[in-house]
């Protein structure tokens, strides 16, 4: 075969395919934006990780923000609102904790502060405890939980949540979201 035999007709199909790919890449996002419904700006998505640090510690605390809830302040902050704005959760990081139980009960209503704590299922290397109480006899359950490192100096993540959503099923669902968040908490260098 010689060089001349390679000279062929212009490849219009290839050209059209290349143009189609370029046009598709540029046009697809506009088409998607037009077809998909407008989302709520502050809605939390799937597996949105929040990493927290505390002054004086090299450790980082991390959790996955509850998917489907709303960021109460800025995205990536540790405060969350349920979609109906009735339930809230707030996660903070604390370092050099001598008494995790005192942190767990700090600021709770007097009756709740005396309630016994229950152990929480958490990741290896951490210990979790929670106090659940309801000052409105079923309408306003609340939760205080600490997830702490087992090795000193102790670092804890404090979770404060209350579940005031409309029906009992909604409150249970909100509570389950927060329990899943707690199970996913990590503390690492």
């Amino acid at each position: 075969m010689d060089q001349a035999k390679l000279t062929r007709r212009p490849s219009w199909g290839t050209g059209l395919l290349i143009l189609g790919i370029i046009g598709g890449i540029l046009g697809a996002p506009f088409l998607a934006a037009r077809l998909l419904p407008t989302p709520e700006a502050s809605r939390i998505g799937v597996f949105e990780r929040v990493v927290q640090t505390a002054p004086g510690s090299s450790l980082r605390g991390s959790h996955f923000a509850p998917a489907g809830w709303l960021w109460a302040d800025q995205p990536g902050g540790g405060t969350y609102l349920s979609v109906d704005h009735a339930s809230t959760a707030h996660i903070t990081m604390h370092t050099d904790i001598d008494d995790p139980d005192a942190l767990l009960r700090k600021g709770l209503p007097p009756g709740a502060a005396l309630s016994p704590s229950t152990a929480l299922p958490v990741r290896t290397g951490l210990t979790g405890a929670a106090v659940e109480y309801d000052l409105a006899a079923g309408d306003n359950p609340a939760l205080s939980a600490t997830i702490c490192t087992t090795i000193a100096p102790t670092v804890c993540l404090l979770v404060r949540a209350n579940f005031s959503s409309g029906t009992e099923a909604q409150r249970d669902s909100a509570r389950q979201d927060i329990m899943r968040l707690i199970e996913g908490i990590e503390v690492a260098p």
Binding site: M1, Q3, L6, T7, R8, R9, P10, S11, W12, G13, T14, G15, L16, L17, I18, L19, I21, I22, G24, I25, L26, A28, P29, F30, A32, A33, L36, T38, P39, A41, R43, I44, G45, V46, F47, E48, R49, V51, R60, S62, A67, G68, E186, V187, A188
Partner: protein, 299 residues
């Protein structure tokens, strides 16, 4: 497409003289599409780099990074993929597409997709979805254009497909890393970025594009005689690099960096393994055919 398919055969390189300006195929629409796209994207690419307003030290670091990474990638391409045997003008066209066109078009589309996906609850996965889709597709288009031009000069063996693909990806990789360095806050963080981008996952874009090029050539070569397996290879040429790219960009599900590094290492090893595998296959089939066609040529 017929022209491209029929021109893709296994290697018969010794019989063909490659002209110096192999890229100049004025009858081929791919040339004018490449030329036009480059013309549009060149000022946009320059603007994107100038807009970083990098201090002189950072700019010098960027130049150094381009030289270092360009040399490493070229050395790899010429040593492993025989890239020196490819037409020089087409090599430049490949690198040019990767360096200029891919970042501009991909950045535009990635930004839009990031907004859309974030708004629909997929912020964490936005990079893993949008980047493979946009970047790998636009690289695929560039490889297709280069192969369309190359096929008018000589039959395209699979190894050339890997080579051209690798160069398209290398151009993009250098350009992307340069942008990352130029957008750093200061010289120290720029150096940090340059070291990370050279030490972790270096060459992946080039490897993924190499896989695209190989499977594009193999798929087109088979398409006429075995349309189903040819189509499957073309689809694999798109899907495999996208999948690897998506896994690389996927969010870390734990703070434990050992798991993250292990998962990245697995993607890296698989990518290198596929390129080496296709290279071995390409060379074996090429040498076998050469022996069959001309026993003297292969000795």
């Amino acid at each position: 497409m017929n022209h491209l398919r029929s021109a893709i055969h296994h290697d018969a390189r010794p019989r063909y003289q490659v002209p110096r300006a192999a890229v100049w195929q004025p009858r081929e629409p791919a040339l004018w599409i490449m030329f036009g796209t480059l013309l549009v994207c060149l000022p946009l690419s320059a603007q994107a780099m100038l807009a970083q307003d990098a201090e002189p030290g950072l700019a010098a670091l960027g130049v150094l990074l381009v030289l270092a990474q360009g040399t490493l990638l070229w050395w790899f391409a010429s040593w492993l993929l025989r890239a020196r045997t490819l037409s020089r003008s087409l090599r430049f066209a490949s690198m040019g597409w990767g360096f200029v066109v891919v970042p501009v078009i991909a950045a535009f589309a990635n930004t839009r997709w990031f907004e859309i996906l974030s708004g629909h609850g997929l912020r964490s996965f936005a990079a893993a979805i949008a980047a493979p889709l946009d970047e790998d597709l636009i690289r695929f288009a560039g490889i297709l254009a280069v192969l369309a031009l190359a096929s008018r000069v000589r039959p395209i063996p699979m190894l050339d497909g890997i080579g051209y693909g690798f160069l398209v990806g290398a151009g993009f990789e250098i350009s992307e890393n340069l942008l990352f360095v130029l957008s750093a806050d200061d010289f120290q963080s720029g150096t940090h970025v340059a070291l990370i981008r050279t030490g972790l996952g270096f060459g992946l874009h080039a490897l993924w594009s190499g896989i695209q090029g190989a499977l594009l050539v193999a798929g087109l070569a088979r398409f006429r005689s075995r349309p189903i397996s040819g189509s499957a290879m073309l689809a694999a040429g798109l899907v495999i690099p996208m999948l690897l790219h998506g896994l690389w960009d996927a969010p870390a599900f734990t703070l434990d960096y050992r798991w993250t590094l292990a998962s990245l290492a697995i993607v890296y090893i698989i990518s290198i393994g596929i390129v080496i595998g296709t290279r071995i296959y390409a060379i074996r089939t090429t040498d076998g055919l050469l022996r069959h066609a001309d026993p003297e040529a292969s000795s």
